[in-house]
Symmetry: C2
Subunit: 195 residues, 2 copies
């Protein structure tokens, strides 16, 4: 499932322009399926070329024209087929966790900063999602509410874990310790044991 399919799905709920879709991608979807104009506009063009959506150009006074896209019957069934047919994946790429994996090569101050920033981001996400959940325009369906609740619960768990376990990373350190040499004592190559 790519950006194109999600656009089609959003259009199955209501007609929208690329600009409108971008706003939806910026509210709830931002937290689990981000997309920018660079993906959305080409997706819409493809969808129209495939006959899965129709496009109506709307003139506006004092504003640029809008292109309002509406899903077609063919689009609706294509979308349902793709929901029925694909095995959904959950892909994560976290530079944050990768960095923390190597925490012992980070300065203590820098480490604290990275941890604190992540906690802030997560708490901000929880707060933002909680707001969306209260607004029936932002979460109109049970699916939307489920997803919002999921995001908030997981972000909350992540923030709590970091807060409660940061001591594991900072325990054996003294605040900022000026080291005058980086003794590189490398491990010997012989062993194959790896992980």
């Amino acid at each position: 499932m790519d950006v194109k399919t999600v656009c089609l799905g959003l259009l199955s709920i209501q007609p929208a322009s690329g600009y409108d879709l971008k706003k939806q991608f910026e509210s709830l979807f931002r937290h689990f399926f981000p997309a920018g104009y660079g993906s959305i506009y080409p997706a819409l063009a493809d969808l129209a070329a495939d006959g899965l959506v129709d496009c109506e150009r709307i003139r506006q006074a004092g504003k640029p024209d809008r292109k309002l896209y509406r899903i077609t019957p063919a689009g609706r069934s294509a979308f349902r087929n793709s929901l029925a047919g694909i095995e959904p994946r959950h892909r994560l790429r976290s530079e944050f966790l990768a960095m923390i994996y190597f925490a012992d090569q980070l300065e203590a101050d820098r480490l604290r900063e990275v941890l604190d920033r992540r906690i802030e981001e997560l708490r901000a996400a929880v707060a933002e999602i909680d707001e969306l959940e209260k607004d029936p325009l932002a979460t109109p369906t049970s699916g939307a509410r489920f997803v919002a609740g999921f995001g908030a619960a997981v972000a909350q768990a992540a923030a709590d874990y970091i807060e409660q376990n940061r001591g594991l990373l900072l325990a054996h350190r003294q605040g900022r310790r000026p080291r005058r040499s980086t003794a590189p004592e490398e491990l010997q190559a012989g062993g194959e044991q790896g992980l």
Copy 2:
């Protein structure tokens, strides 16, 4: 931070071949920073070309040659600089959540299947990570243990959320409708709505 940088980081802990690194990417890293041979081998070649790692070819009886990579002093400082310099991101793209957003366009049986499968995956991840956490070879540093604990905690929270809130998605539906096919009826749906 890309695959190249993570490879360099892993080599900062111990020398390894591309094949060895792949195994590391398959154990803990798989859960937050997946990478395949197609990224790893080119990364290693780049690193060597930049003088950040050295490569020793090792002949083996009855097995293909290995190329053992060792980080250089330049590589070590390049790695620390990149840890100090970048703002780490946490990127998620979940087709699973996107699909659930559109749950009302999914058949009830299909929806249950998707939900159940995801719970299974999450529980399997928790179990796998718990094993890694017990093994000091798999989680040798405090950073590794922190990351493992994080992954397990978040996966656990996700599984719990799905299990406790699936009722939100299934509540207004009929369970699986009794079909008058030749197949013998299994248990009649009674408990879907009571979370």
